[in-house]
Symmetry: C2
Subunit: 343 residues, 2 copies
């Protein structure tokens, strides 16, 4: 199990962890943007930011740095950064001497609610995202909002889509509370930390029941079967969209599919649609793109034999995994998504 | 849990496995010597033999081959070879798309009783053996003696030392039976397969109780604290010795230590000493090497803070892990080892 620590006094939390673990060596892994948060640390590995640096070459350099710093099985690795740092640093630690203890300190909202917890680690290979990796849990995850004041609004919105997803999988009152969120207001740190506590727990509970993605963990794929297709097509066209924007559009589409197939309440589809129109409106696709999107869904890593499956809801908090959907249903749902967005 | 299959009809066993698993693609990994056993297979990755090829470059090439062959999470990897093939091929499979099912088919005695079972996978890095790796179990291990007729006698003896170790951890009648083994006689396949069945089960039972080497698994380190020092020193001097020879000498030394510290019966020390003198006599060290050997034991991957610890026995079948031993005790035991060897 992962030890989750919700605090904005990150230094004190790290101090307590290193005091109790008594590692022979502590090494920080950060990227060029987050290295400043590790200012003054004796042993620091700085890796590139951006997806193109999430490579075997970078992993190799991290392993070499671990050798140079004398890392052993009694050492501690602290990954300080967004999803790329916790994914790649986690993989490097999990495979060094067959496993060194590592702690994740996510510095982005998306990292805090998604990449830093749940044990998926890895890097890109052969042009494919996260193609090489391992399931390996950080021993501890320190979740704070203190790094978010300087995050661009688009990054906050990107992470927030995953927070909404977790509420849709678990709790309608939390879902409704989130839809009132105002991204133009200054961050209320105490309130946001409470929202994170709720959100992360949803993921942790599901992962605990299915760590290696044999079944129930697919619940976390809500919004992602369609969302990944948006993300991949935008990437192929050289105009990438933030992950969470693709998820937000995917959540509306799959809520529509849930309504069509499982009677998910129409009023909640509408509430979600309004929220996404207000905050994630710059949808770059038209009906001319439907064939390309369907093709991408058929070739998703999690699909088998060309069938399109996704996670749907009967109501907020009640999910059904492995729902097979037809191209006609998806086409209809994409039309309704575009209506919701006012396009 | 690993499914263990003891049979000399390897093709039929593989046929049954692929029939039930129904993989979309089956890929064989073999080295330049064992590739002939995969003759006629459509998808085969051939890697170098020898420890210098157990590298990140080779892992990279295996991952690239998996991409080329269209390996997915619904594929099957078959590692056909000695410890290097099962270690490296296992790591490549365990990390490709965060884990593809793999089957080990060991072709050496040492591989069958040691590397192929228990889930340790990995490769050499920064000049250190198995420095990068993961704990990942082969779903199935097909254990046969059919590849052993052409194994050099030194390789048979090397593997046999691990068979003796497993008997020392579990069963005195098996231990005594093994000491009667005659390496100059032709292989009795039925009998040897029975010995393997007994031996592998000892390892599997211990690993099942402690898969990630937190405690009890250290029992399998019997003979290895001292044995690794022999192996490393011989390697440093450019005159490597087979792993199992170093283990055989380590078993005698640690049996002597067990007698000194825990009252392990002297008659069993003598029986073991005779067997090792008869079969593993070419011991390349003198009393001038004791300081170097002690230094190596202090820096073993499993030691902490310079203390030397090992697994000792009170009697055959009853082990005690984490026994701290002094340099003086080891020096005395090494003298007695050399007496047993008639040196």
């Amino acid at each position: 199990m992962q030890n989750l620590i919700f605090t904005n006094d990150v230094e004190a939390a790290i101090e307590r962890l290193t005091h109790s673990a008594a590692p022979n060596v502590t090494v920080y892994v950060a990227d060029v943007n987050t290295a400043r948060f590790a200012f003054g640390q004796e042993r620091l590995v700085v890796i590139p930011d951006g997806d193109s640096g999430k490579s075997l070459e970078t992993v190799n350099r991290v392993w070499e740095a671990f050798e140079d710093f004398g890392v052993t099985r009694h050492s501690l690795i602290i990954n300080l950064g967004g999803g790329m740092v916790t994914d790649l640093g986690g993989f490097a630690a999990a495979t060094f001497k067959r496993g060194v203890r590592f702690v994740n300190v996510p510095t982005t909202l998306l990292g805090a609610v998604d990449a830093a917890v749940g044990g998926k680690t890895g890097f890109n290979f052969g042009g494919l995202k996260n193609e090489i990796g391992a399931f390996a849990l950080a021993s501890d995850v320190i979740i704070s909002t203190r790094y978010f004041d300087t995050l661009p609004e688009r990054e906050m919105k990107s992470g927030f889509a995953e927070v909404v997803k977790h509420a849709m999988l678990s709790d309608r009152s939390e879902f409704l509370r989130l839809l009132d969120h105002d991204f133009s207001a200054p961050i209320n740190h105490n309130d946001l930390l409470e929202r994170l506590r709720h959100s992360v727990q949803v993921k942790v509970d599901i992962v605990a029941r299915d760590p290696n993605e044999q079944g129930e963990r697919k619940a976390l794929n809500l919004g992602h079967t369609v969302g990944h297709a948006f993300e991949s097509l935008a990437m192929q066209r050289g105009k990438p969209v933030p992950h969470g924007y693709a998820v937000a559009w995917g959540l509306v589409t799959e809520a529509v599919l849930s309504h069509m197939r499982l009677g998910f309440p129409g009023e909640d589809v509408h509430r979600l649609g309004h929220f996404v129109r207000d905050n994630y409106r710059d949808f770059p696709f038209t009906c001319d793109d439907y064939d390309d999107l369907l093709d991408l869904m058929r070739h998703d890593k999690k699909s088998r034999a060309g069938e399109i499956t996704c996670t749907l809801l009967t109501t907020i908090g009640d999910y059904r995994i492995d729902q097979t959907i037809t191209p006609d249903d998806i086409t209809a749902a994409l039309d309704i998504l575009r209506d919701h967005l006012g396009l």
